[in-house]
C-alpha cells in the first residue's frame, strides 16, 4: 500500500503537470504527504506488512516486498524528507528558473523526477529480492541523472550527471554480479533465504564484497567520492534530497540490507573500517577547505556517511543499531542545512560563497535559529538528536577497544569544526550582502526539520525504537541501544567533552591549519580518483579510435580473412579425424583407360593456373572458358553426358556474357587496369588467397573421395521410384516431384535477381 502510493506519486504528478503546470507543486506535495502518511501508518499501527508473489517462477524470481524495520526507517526518511523538499521546491524552483531565464514549463519535470526518485527509494528499501533491489537501484540512478542534469544548458551539470550515472551505474553491475553469484550457488535471490542458507567462506565474501562496493560507490565513500561534490551542480532541493534520504543514503542502506552476509567475514568488516575512516578524514578535511556552501556540505556528507560505514565496520549489535540511528540524525540535520544553503543563496541574489557571506543573523533570525539547531545536531551538541548519535558512535567504538575511540574522536572533532565554520560563516560577523525576505514555504520545512532535531534531543524514544528495529534487520538479531543523558564521567561522556574541547581548540587555531587543508585538497585534485576516471574515459575513446583503423579495409583482404581460416579449419579437421590405419593417404593405380581423363584434368589445371597470368581481359576470358570446357570433357569421360552438355551450355553463356560486358565497358577503364600492374603487396595477397583456396579444395576433395561410396543413397531410391512418380526420366522427377520445393525456390531466386536488377538499372520499369 505505501509502496503503491509512493510509486504512483510520480505519474500522477507528471500527469497533473502536463494538464496544467501550476497544479504540479500542490499535487506533488499531496501525493508525497499521502505516501509519508501511508508509510508511517503502516509501520506504527499496522505493524509492517509484506507482499510476495511469484514473478518468473522458472528462475524462482519473486516480487517480494516487506516493510521491516530497516525499510520503515529509510521509507520514512525518503517520503518525509521528500515531502519537505517538495514543499520547499514549490517556492524555490520558480525563483531558480527565473534567475536562469527559463520557462515555468520546466517545473513538472522536476517534480516528476523527484517523486520517481522517492518511489524508487521506497521500492528499493522494501524489496527483499536482490534482483528487485537492483532494478530499483538503477531507477534511482536514472532519476538522479535527470535531476542532476536539471540545469541542462550548463556543461557542468551534464558532465556531473554523466559522471554520477557512470560511477554509480558501473558499480551497480557489481551488485548484480554479487546477486548472480549467490543465485548460482544457492538458487534464490531472496535475501532472507540467502541469509539463512549462505555459508561463510571465500565465495560468500567475494559476493558480499561486490555488493558492498556498489553500496560504497553510491554513498560516495573514498575512493568513489569524487562524483558527489560535482553532483552539487543540481538545484538545491535535489542536493538536499540526494544527500539526506535518497541516493547517498541508498548506498548505506544497501550495506545495511546485505550486512548479515557481509559480517560473516572479518576481512570485509575491517575493509569497511578503513574505507569509513578514510572517508571521514578526507571528507572532513576537504569540508574545512571549501568556500562554496554546497561543496562544504557535500564533503561533510562524505565524511558523515564515512561514520556510518565505520560503525558498520566496528560490527556488533551496537554498531548496527547505532549506524541506523546515525542515518536518521544525519538525514534530519543535513536536509535542513542544504535547504538553508539554498535559502541563503536565493535571498542574497545568488551568492554561494562562504567568504562573501556573513552576519545574516539579524536579517534572517528564524533561518539562523532553525539552521543553528540543525548544525548543532550535526555537530552533536547536547539537547539535539545529534548528541545521541555521537554517544552511540563512541559507545560502539569503545566496545571494540583501542584505537577506535581515538579515531572516532578525530572524526567528531572534524565535524564540529566544519559545522562551526558553516554556520558562523553565514550568520555571524558583519553583514556582507543584501537579504530579501523568504517565502514561508521555504522557511517552514527548514524550521520543522530544525525543531525535529531538537525534539529528538529531548524525546529520543521513538527514534531509538525505529533505529533498533532497523538494526535488528541489519544485524539479524536483537540490537538494544539506550541513548540517554548521563551526568557522570563515563567514557562516552569524556569523549564528548573531549570533542567539544578539541573542537574549540581547532576553531581557534584556524590560521595554523587552513593552509594545510588547502594543500591537501589540491593534491587530491592532481592525483585523486577523479583524474583516473577522466583518464580511463579518454583512454577508452583513444583505443576505440585506434582500432577503427584496423577495421576500415578493403573487400579483397577480407576475403583472405575468410579463406585462410577456412583452410586451417578444414586442414585441422582432416588431421584430427584421420583414421589411424592411414588409408586416406594411399594412392590408387592408374590404368591405360584413364589417360584421356588425366589429360583433360591436366588441361583444366593448366588453364586454371594460366588464368592468373594474362593482363589483357579478352585473353583472361578465353583462358577461363578453356578451363571450363575441359572440365565439361571430364564429366563426359565420367559417363555423365547430360551433365557435360549442361556444363558446355553454362560455359558458353558465361563466356558470351563476359565478352558482352567487356564490350560495354569504357575502353579507358580497361586500358588503365591493363597497363597498371598490381603492387607487390596485392600480388602477394593474391598468391596467398590462391594457395589457401587450393589447399582447402584439395583437402576437401581428398577427404570426400577417400570415403567408400555410401551403401544407401537416395539417388538409388529416386531411380527406383521414378515410375511411381509418373515419369520416365529421373531428372524430371527430381525437379518436378521429389524436390519440387527446391525448384520453386530456384525459380524465386531468378525472379529476385530480375527484380533487384530492375530496381537498380531500370528504375523498376519491367513493363
Amino acid at each position: 500500500m505505501p509502496l503503491a502510493l509512493a510509486l504512483a506519486a510520480a505519474p500522477i504528478t507528471a500527469l497533473a503537470g502536463t494538464i496544467r503546470p501550476s497544479w504540479t507543486a500542490p499535487v506533488g506535495v499531496a501525493t508525497s504527504a499521502l505516501a509519508f502518511a501511508a508509510v508511517f501508518w503502516a509501520w506504527a499501527f499496522a505493524g509492517g506488512g509484506s507482499v510476495d508473489f511469484p514473478w518468473a517462477p522458472t528462475w524462482n524470481l519473486r516480487l517480494a516486498f516487506e516493510l521491516d524495520g530497516l525499510a520503515a526507517l529509510y521509507a520514512m526518511l525518503a517520503t518525509g524528507i521528500g515531502l519537505a523538499v517538495v514543499v520547499y521546491a514549490s517556492k524555490y524552483l520558480p525563483l531558480h528558473l527565473e534567475h536562469q531565464g527559463r520557462p515555468d514549463a520546466d517545473i513538472p519535470r522536476f517534480h516528476a523526477f523527484i517523486l520517481m526518485f522517492m518511489g524508487s527509494m521506497v521500492g528499493l528499501v522494501m524489496a527483499q529480492d536482490l534482483l528487485l533491489i537492483f532494478i530499483f537501484w538503477d531507477l534511482t540512478a536514472i532519476a538522479s541523472y535527470f535531476l542532476i542534469a536539471y540545469d541542462v544548458h550548463e556543461e557542468e551539470s551534464r558532465y556531473s550527471a554523466l559522471m554520477a550515472m557512470l560511477v554509480t551505474g558501473i558499480t551497480a553491475v557489481l551488485l548484480l554480479v554479487g546477486a548472480m553469484m549467490l543465485y548460482v550457488e544457492y538458487g534464490t535471490f531472496l535475501l532472507p533465504e540467502l541469509i539463512e542458507t549462505a555459508e561463510p567462506g571465500v565465495y560468500l565474501t567475494t559476493a558480499a564484497a561486490f555488493m558492498a562496493i556498489a553500496g560504497l560507490a553510491k554513498s560516495a565513500q573514498v575512493p568513489f567520492h569524487f562524483w558527489l561534490p560535482r553532483a552539487m551542480a543540481a538545484p538545491t532541493p535535489v542536493s538536499a534530497y540526494l544527500h539526506s534520504a535518497a541516493m547517498v543514503a541508498a548506498g548505506v542502506f544497501l550495506i545495511g540490507r546485505v550486512y548479515p552476509l557481509v559480517q560473516t567475514s572479518q576481512f570485509l568488516l575491517d575493509a569497511l573500517l578503513v574505507m569509513g575512516f578514510a572517508s571521514m578524514v578526507v571528507g572532513g578535511v576537504l569540508a574545512l577547505s571549501r568556500d562554496v556552501l554546497k561543496q562544504l556540505l557535500a564533503y561533510s556528507t562524505i565524511s558523515q556517511y564515512g561514520y556510518v560505514v565505520f560503525m558498520f565496520g566496528l560490527g556488533g549489535p551496537y554498531g548496527a543499531a547505532a549506524a541506523s540511528f546515525y542515518v536518521i540524525a544525519h538525514a534530519l540535520a543535513k536536509s535542513a542545512l542544504f535547504l538553508t544553503a539554498g535559502a541563503v543563496t536565493e535571498s542574497s541574489d545568488g551568492e554561494t560563497r562562504l567568504s562573501h557571506l556573513g552576519g545574516m543573523l539579524r536579517q534572517q533570525p528564524l533561518l539562523a535559529a532553525s539552521s543553528g539547531a540543525a548544525a548543532a545536531g550535526l555537530a552533536a551538541l547536547p539537547l539535539t538528536i545529534g548528541f545521541f548519535k555521537d554517544e552511540l558512535f563512541f559507545e560502539a567504538a569503545l566496545e571494540r577497544g583501542m584505537p577506535f575511540p581515538l579515531l572516532a574522536l578525530f572524526g567528531a572533532v572534524l565535524t564540529l569544526t566544519y559545522m562551526w565554520r558553516f554556520w558562523t560563516g553565514i550568520f555571524l560577523g558583519e553583514p556582507r550582502q543584501e537579504s530579501r525576505p523568504l517565502p514561508v514555504a521555504m522557511l517552514a520545512p527548514i524550521t520543522i526539520l530544525g525543531v525535529l532535531t531538537i525534539f529528538g534531543g529531548v524525546v529520543v524514544g521513538p527514534f531509538t525504537n525505529l533505529a533498533e528495529a532497523a538494526g535488528a534487520v541489519t544485524f539479524n538479531g536483537e540490537t538494544p541501544i539506550s541513548p540517554a543523558y548521563h551526568l557522570d564521567f563515563r567514557p562516552v561522556n569524556l569523549l564528548a567533552l573531549a570533542t567539544f574541547g578539541l573542537g574549540a581548540l581547532v576553531i581557534i587555531s584556524r590560521p595554523l591549519w587552513s593552509g594545510a587543508a588547502g594543500v591537501f585538497s589540491r593534491i587530491g585534485e592532481k592525483v585523486g580518483p577523479q583524474k583516473w576516471y577522466d583518464l580511463s574515459l579518454t583512454g577508452l575513446n583513444a583505443f576505440s579510435d585506434r582500432i577503427h583503423w584496423l577495421e576500415v579495409d578493403t573487400l579483397r583482404s577480407r576475403i583472405v580473412a575468410v579463406l585462410i581460416p577456412l583452410g586451417i579449419l578444414v586442414g585441422a579437421g582432416l588431421l584430427v579425424s584421420a583414421p589411424a590405419e592411414a588409408s586416406i593417404y594411399s594412392v590408387g593405380t592408374v590404368e591405360a583407360a584413364d589417360i584421356p581423363l588425366i589429360v583433360a584434368l591436366v588441361l583444366t589445371a593448366v588453364a586454371a593456373v594460366a588464368a592468373t597470368v594474362p593482363r589483357n581481359h579478352l585473353t583472361l576470358v578465353l583462358v577461363l572458358s578453356a578451363s571450363g570446357f575441359s572440365l565439361a570433357a571430364v564429366y563426359a569421360f565420367f559417363g555423365g553426358p547430360d551433365v557435360a552438355l549442361v556444363a558446355v551450355l553454362v560455359e558458353t553463356i558465361l563466356t558470351l556474357l563476359l565478352l558482352a560486358v567487356l564490350a560495354l565497358m569504357p575502353s579507358a577503364v580497361l586500358k588503365r587496369s591493363e597497363t597498371h600492374g598490381s603492387s607487390p603487396g596485392t600480388r602477394r595477397r593474391a598468391y596467398l588467397v590462391g594457395g589457401a583456396s587450393t589447399v582447402v579444395a584439395f583437402l576437401g576433395v581428398w577427404g570426400a573421395l577417400s570415403r567408400p561410396t555410401p551403401e544407401e543413397s537416395v539417388a538409388a531410391q529416386h531411380i527406383e521410384l521414378a515410375p511411381d512418380a509418373h515419369a520416365n526420366d529421373i531428372v524430371t522427377v527430381i525437379l518436378a516431384d521429389f524436390r519440387g520445393l527446391d525448384t520453386l525456390g530456384e525459380i524465386t531466386v531468378v525472379g529476385i535477381a530480375l527484380l533487384g536488377i530492375s530496381a537498380l538499372l531500370l528504375r523498376g520499369r519491367l513493363w
Partner: protein, 513 residues
C-alpha cells in the same frame, strides 16, 4: 479447435503466404502511383497477419503434440523434402512474425516520403519502383522456409533467396554508398552460401542423403564431416557477421533504407545463426568434439568487446547500431562454448539463453533502427553531433532508443536480461567464468555507447530543424516494439516451454543449483 491444429497443412502457410504476397506485389508493380502503393501495402499487411496467425497455429500444434513433420508431395524422407517444426522453428517463426509484422507496419509510413524537400537527405524515402514489398515478402518467405526446412539442400535454396533479396533491399536506397554496400553484401552472401553448399556436397557424398535427421543419425567423426562442419560454420559465421567476419555489416546496415535496416539487423543476421544452430546440434551433435565449440565462443567473446568499443566512437546513429549488432551477435556465439562445457545439465540454459537473445535483440535492435529512420525522415540525417537536444523535437524516437537500450544493456525485466542472465549462469555453472566477465563487460560498454547518443540528445539546447514530421505510425511502431522487448523478460516462461519441445538438450532445472 484441436482438430484444426492437428492438420499439418498449416506448416505450409508461413512459407506460402508471403510467397503468394510477393508474387502479387510483384505483379502490382505494373500499376503506377498512389494506387500501386495502396494495393501493395494492403497485400503486405495481409501477409503479415497471415504469417502471425499461422505462427500462432503452429505454436499451438507444436506445444500440444510435440515436433511436427510434413512430407511434401507425400514422399517421405530421405527421398523427398520434408518440413519439420519443433520448438526452435516455431520460436523463430514467432520472431519473424513479431519483428517482420512491425517492420511491415513501419514501412507503410516510411515509404510515404514526398520528393524534393531536402537535397541533403541520406536516404531515399520513396520506393519509386515499388520493389520493397515484393523483395521483403520474398525475404520473409525464405526465412520462414529456412526455419521449417528439414533438408540440407532446401536450406541452401532458402539461403540463396535470403541473400539475394537482402542484397537487393540494401541497394534500394539508390545511393552510391548503398550500391557498394549491397554489392559487398552480395559477395559475402554468395561466398557464405557457397561454403555451405560445399559442406552439404561433402555430406551428401559421404552419406547419400540430404535429410537433416537422416544425416544426424549417420554422421560420424570422419574427415568429410569435419570439413563440412568447418565449411558450414564459416559460411554461416560470415553471413551472421561474427568477428572478424563482420566487416560487411556496418556499411550494409547503415546504407540500407531504415525500414530495411530494421529487418536486416533484426532478422536476416539471425536466420543464418539459426541454420548454424540447426546444423551444429542436429547434424553434428554427436560428432563434433566439445573443444570445437570454443572457437565460436572465443570469437564471440572478442566480438562483444570489439563491437562495443567500435560503437563508442561512431558519429552516425545507424553505424553505432550496426557495431552494437556486432557486439550483440557475439553473445549468440557464446552458447557454442557453453553447451560443450563441463556441466551437461547447464546446456539447455546456455542454448536457451542464446536463442532467447535472438528474439530480444531482434525486437530491440529493429526498434532502434526504426527510431533512427524516424530521425532521418524528420531531420534528413542521423549524425550524432548535429542531433544535440533532439529529444525536444522527437521525444518518442529518443525514448525508443533508450528503452531498446535496456535490452542491449541487459537490464532486468528485458528479454536481454533473461538471455544474458542465462548465459551468465551457464558460464559460471560450467566453470567457464571468464565468459561471464565478457557478458558483464559487454553490458557496461553497451551503456557507454548508448549514452554517446542519449547524452547529447537529451540536452536542452537549440536543436536541429525538423523539416517534416514523420508519420505517427513510424515512431509509434518503433516505440511499441522497444517496449515489447523490455517486457519479454516477464513473459519468458511460455516461450521457454515452447523452446524445450524437441530441443537438443533436456530442459531439466533451469538456473539455480
Amino acid at each position: 479447435m484441436a482438430s484444426v491444429f492437428e492438420n499439418t497443412n498449416w506448416m505450409l502457410a508461413p512459407i506460402l503466404v508471403p510467397l503468394a504476397a510477393a508474387t502479387v506485389a510483384f505483379l502490382l508493380m505494373g500499376i503506377r502511383g498512389e494506387a500501386r502503393r495502396n494495393a501493395q501495402n494492403a497485400v503486405g499487411l495481409a501477409a503479415a497477419l497471415g504469417v502471425a496467425l499461422s505462427a500462432l497455429a503452429l505454436w499451438a500444434m507444436v506445444s500440444g503434440g510435440g515436433p511436427v513433420r510434413y512430407e511434401l508431395g507425400g514422399w517421405e524422407a530421405p527421398l523427398g523434402i520434408n518440413l519439420y517444426a519443433d520448438g526452435l522453428s516455431v520460436f523463430m517463426l514467432i520472431t519473424t512474425a513479431i519483428v517482420g509484422g512491425a517492420g511491415s507496419v513501419y514501412a507503410l509510413g516510411y515509404f510515404s516520403g514526398r520528393e524534393g524537400e531536402d537535397a541533403r537527405r541520406k536516404e531515399d524515402l520513396q520506393d519509386e519502383t515499388g520493389s520493397f514489398w515484393p523483395l521483403w515478402m520474398f525475404l520473409w518467405a525464405s526465412m520462414n522456409g529456412m526455419f521449417l526446412a528439414a533438408d540440407a539442400f532446401n536450406l541452401y535454396i532458402t539461403l540463396e533467396i535470403l541473400g539475394l533479396s537482402a542484397a537487393a533491399l540494401i541497394t534500394l536506397g539508390g545511393t552510391r554508398m548503398a550500391f557498394s554496400a549491397g554489392m559487398r553484401y552480395l559477395m559475402v552472401s554468395l561466398l557464405g552460401s557457397l561454403a555451405y553448399l560445399l559442406g552439404v556436397a561433402l555430406l551428401y557424398g559421404s552419406f547419400g542423403a540430404l535429410d537433416l535427421a537422416t544425416l544426424g543419425e549417420a554422421a560420424s567423426p570422419i574427415p568429410p564431416v569435419w570439413a563440412a562442419l568447418a565449411l558450414i560454420s564459416l559460411g554461416m559465421a560470415l553471413k551472421t557477421g561474427l568477428f572478424p567476419l563482420h566487416f560487411w555489416m556496418p556499411a550494409a546496415y547503415t546504407s540500407a533504407p531504415s525500414a530495411a535496416s530494421a529487418i536486416l539487423a533484426g532478422l536476416v543476421g539471425k536466420a543464418s545463426f539459426y541454420l548454424l544452430l540447426r546444423v551444429w546440434f542436429d547434424v553434428f551433435g554427436g560428432s563434433a568434439p566439445p573443444a570445437a565449440g570454443q572457437i565460436p565462443g572465443v570469437l564471440g567473446a572478442v566480438a562483444i568487446v570489439w563491437g562495443a568499443v567500435m560503437a563508442m566512437r561512431q558519429t552516425r546513429i545507424k553505424t553505432l547500431l550496426a557495431y552494437s549488432s556486432v557486439s550483440q551477435m557475439g553473445y549468440l556465439f557464446l552458447l557454442f562454448a557453453l553447451v560443450s562445457g563441463a556441466a551437461p545439465e547447464r546446456s539447455f540454459e546456455a542454448w536457451g539463453g542464446g536463442v532467447y537473445l535472438v528474439l530480444a535483440h531482434a525486437c530491440a535492435k529493429a526498434a532502434m533502427f526504426m527510431a533512427a529512420g524516424v530521425v532521418i525522415y524528420s531531420v534528413g540525417h542521423d549524425e550524432i553531433p548535429r542531433l544535440r537536444g533532439i529529444f525536444q523535437k522527437l521525444p518518442i524516437s529518443v525514448a525508443t532508443f533508450a528503452v531498446g537500450g535496456i535490452t542491449m544493456m541487459g537490464l532486468p525485466t528485458s528479454g536481454g536480461f533473461t538471455a544474458k542472465y542465462l548465459l551468465f549462469t551457464a558460464s559460471v555453472g560450467t566453470g567457464q567464468w571468464w565468459y561471464s566477465l565478457v557478458v558483464l563487460a559487454g553490458s557496461i560498454l553497451a551503456a557507454l555507447y548508448l549514452l554517446r547518443f542519449l547524452n547529447p540528445a537529451l540536452i536542452q539546447v537549440p536543436t536541429a530543424k525538423v523539416y517534416r514530421d514523420a508519420p505517427q505510425i513510424m515512431s509509434g511502431t518503433a516505440f511499441v516494439l522497444a517496449v515489447f522487448s523490455v517486457f519479454l523478460g516477464l513473459m519468458s516462461a511460455p516461450l521457454f516451454e515452447l523452446l524445450s519441445v524437441g530441443a537438443p538438450f533436456p530442459s531439466g532445472t533451469m538456473g539455480g543449483s
